[in-house]
Amino acid sequence: MSFASVGPGTIHHLNAEMFKSIFNIDVVHVPYKGSAPALQDVVGGHVQFMFVDAPPAKALIEGGKLRALGVTTLERVEALPDVPPLAEVGIPNYNTASWHSVSTTAGVPKDIVDKLATEIRAVMSEPEVQKLLLAEGAIPQISPSPEEFKRYVDAEIVRWGALVEKAGILHSQ
């Protein structure tokens, strides 16, 4: 048995490692360069399962090509109302999510970073953008305070750092 991922060390890979750890099962990791090629092989039956972001999987789930076992968030995902949170179907407190951000090269002038950040905030605040992201299976987020954000990041570091160590992921890739 094997599972696909969008790449070694990705949060999707780490979710699968956590899954293995919870159930104490040994499954072979097959990394791909993104969700599209990975999903292709899951649909083709070459690998048996994967953790993947909702947007690229949504059409395949709706088309009956994939069976969604659960979402990793505590709440249901609006675009996939029939898919239960894993926390509700046997893995209590399971609560993870991948997230996206825009980064740029270190040393970019602060006023340019500020301008881009302001524009991105404006883009993400557009109702049309939020509606599109929700429809695709994403969850648009409004920024909390920097302090709250930092706490979130710190918590993620502790959580995933422990798993990375346990799974020996850094040394195996």
């Binding site: 039956g45 048996q48 009956g64």
Partner: protein
């Protein structure tokens, strides 16, 4: 036969500089923000086409294009679970014309690029300052970003 997929949800966008390690260089800004962007911006997606990172980058890039009047060109740089794209951005000219749709996994532990000083400087310094937190102070959005700062911290702890 139905195949199994466990679905992860995802969140919004924030702008975060990869690191603050080159802050002094930024003081030599050659272009003021009021003129930015004066030419197309490369928008790196560190995964293959067809995934959520590209989807969100296209959506955000298109909107930025409308708002700022210059093309935001999506450039897929897949491989190594994001390492290829991150490395490209880390090595880019720090002028704001190369940005990246990073995911929670787009930033790597420096040990995955142990020989790369740019990646090391981007990820190994200022462990207490998550890049995302700085960006949020700058007016960004949502709880994402910070994986660069985050991983660096993790690397230090190990």
């Amino acid at each position: 036969m139905m195949k199994a997929v466990l679905v992860a949800a995802l969140t919004g966008c924030v702008l975060a500089p990869l690191a603050q390690a080159q802050e002094k260089a930024s003081e030599k800004a050659s272009e003021s923000a009021s003129l930015y962007p004066s030419r197309p911006v490369t928008f790196v997606v560190p995964f293959a086409p067809g995934g959520s990172t590209g989807l969100i980058a296209r959506l955000v890039g298109q909107k930025l294009e409308q708002r700022l009047g210059k093309p935001f060109i999506i450039d897929h740089r897949a491989g190594g679970g994001g390492v290829i794209g991150v490395t490209q951005v880390a090595h880019g000219t720090p002028d704001g014309y190369t940005i990246m749709m990073a995911s929670s996994t787009g930033a790597r532990d420096q040990r995955q690029c142990p020989q790369d000083p740019a990646v090391r400087s981007a990820q190994g310094h200022h462990p207490g300052r998550a890049a995302g937190a700085d960006a949020l102070r700058a007016g960004g959005q949502s709880r994402p970003a910070g994986a660069v700062g985050g991983r660096s911290r993790q690397a230090r702890q190990e």
